[in-house]
Symmetry: C2
Subunit: 332 residues, 2 copies
Amino acid sequence: MVNIKEVAAAAGVSASTVSRVLTGNIPVSDITKSRVLAAVEKLNYQPNACAQGLKGGRLHTIGLVIPNIRNLVFPAAIRGIEDTAGKHGYTVVLCNTDEDADKERLYIDNLRRRLIDGFIFSTARPGHEYLLDLPGEGVPVVFLIRQLGKTVDTVVLHNEDGAYQATRYMLSRGVKTIALINGGLDLPLYKDRYNGYLRALKEAGVAEPERMVIHGASGWEDGYLVMKDLLQHGCQPDGVLATSDPKAMGVIRAIHDAGLQVPGDISVMGFDNLDFSSMTDPPLTTVAQPFYEMGVRACQRLIHLIEKGRPANTRAKIDVLPAELVIRKSVR
Amino acid sequence: MVNIKEVAAAAGVSASTVSRVLTGNIPVSDITKSRVLAAVEKLNYQPNACAQGLKGGRLHTIGLVIPNIRNLVFPAAIRGIEDTAGKHGYTVVLCNTDEDADKERLYIDNLRRRLIDGFIFSTARPGHEYLLDLPGEGVPVVFLIRQLGKTVDTVVLHNEDGAYQATRYMLSRGVKTIALINGGLDLPLYKDRYNGYLRALKEAGVAEPERMVIHGASGWEDGYLVMKDLLQHGCQPDGVLATSDPKAMGVIRAIHDAGLQVPGDISVMGFDNLDFSSMTDPPLTTVAQPFYEMGVRACQRLIHLIEKGRPANTRAKIDVLPAELVIRKSVR
DNA sequence: ATTATTTCTGCAAACGATTGCAGAAACGAT
DNA sequence: ATCGTTTCTGCAATCGTTTGCAGAAATAAT
């Protein structure tokens, strides 16, 4: 790799002048400037990012910390982040933590010593409060998808409204008894979805159905098992709101296994609108999260924090994006 | 962040001694060593990776270049790479190229100036031959999933055998006429799958069915359209081998739309065994690629290249992993 | 006790960039 | 022609490490 001295030699100037031309902060005469640029072009010089970072500049790298890339909610968001980062000359480092706080802390230390410019975390949850300290230490941080407190800039879905819309929609289609198969209430997003569900029921004057609200289910397998269990115990709702698309897929499978039809006998809704959710049978009616857009916004916000900082005595910005109903064929 | 001088001061030694203790290359007396280690511990010192990189050391970072993270073949492989990298103290930078060679070249330049230690590419294909030059410039490179030539270390599936096994399995189940819905033949992996299909037919004394071998299809939509087209023109095979799971999903949908059953009227097989392929209806019989394992191997190989180099006059190592049949319910 | 080894430690020079400072060159004003 | 500005450029220090070299201290040999 060619360095700044070689460029300087080729242009017949000193290294400082080359640096000044490239950074543009300090004026250089037009004639030397063009000579330098020609040399840069000719040698295909690219400044060494480590040296720049060491000197106190930014390294233009951000750390993206997620639980597990195999969870399908993340790829689209990552794409939004990566595209936005690239557009601004930033590079993205990926870390999977499996929800493990120790692993996460190791990653954070490891990246900080690489002089990373900032972090996007999708791993915020109770037990990870140490994340809240980073901004105080001068590390720019944005939370994405999952929120923790109100002191860190965050990009999330309006989860309460998403579940509200879904429930209301099923009620409007004449579904009377709606079971809720939800994730763990320790994550605010599932708490919010539960609340949205309750609000829609209440507004419609419908009581919360007994034994038909299940929390703590996760993934396709749980959706299947929970629904199977429900049906075996004689609890047959005529609608199910699952708070993720894989859970909804498991639910549908359990319903089919019991010899019932979707949506003929039981309507089913999911949540997230993952890429494969239109390919299922029946195509899944669900609540869309604009993952790509959320990634874009989180990344924009982070780059803003890195480059402009956050003015003192300013509140954290909590960016709540609207949920959108995607109507397909799994509700009658 | 605390630096080596502060540690040196705390331990009452010079910075060089601290460095020597930590790298361990040069002997230091036990007594000073313990003093230094205590200071390191107390101040929670972590060497600045940029400074180390600048000095000529490795930065312990690898670049992972893929077409698009939303393509579901990648997340599992990425996970394998990331886990392996982490285990060896390496960090992974993610780049999506959308198959765009210019974008890819920009990424490569950008990462090289960050002193990245090596690359894993899943983007190799005709038109990207410039990738073959990198090893000659001293940049460690491994190809994953997609192969290009034989001069670069590569980790791929035994694609020919995968398609051979799939075809043979359908024949063994009494399927007579097997359509092939394949990707573009410019990628060797699709060429290989085609050859495996042909070999199985030939071995069984079955002729290649006319108008039922389609190349260049990609994704769910193409699978759907191609199958629909086939059925509308009166070409009704009693089996379909789709060379990706999403294509197979589209095929199944088209079959259902035509009022036919899977596998009752037509058997369908996919390829890849993506995470969602067990959740489909019917559950998809397919050929599994061990993506996670492939990621692990690619990463191990790359780290080996980085740390030990490749002995001169050595051939590239092409690591071909076995394909495995996953039998579910979409073949009669 | 003196010298010859061995073992350890500190100094200073790199790595490649940026930037304050001061000197050189160019210009205009008298 | 002299002086004062302005504009540009180079020197050298700096960021945080690592490492060759040489000197200091400790040990062994005479």
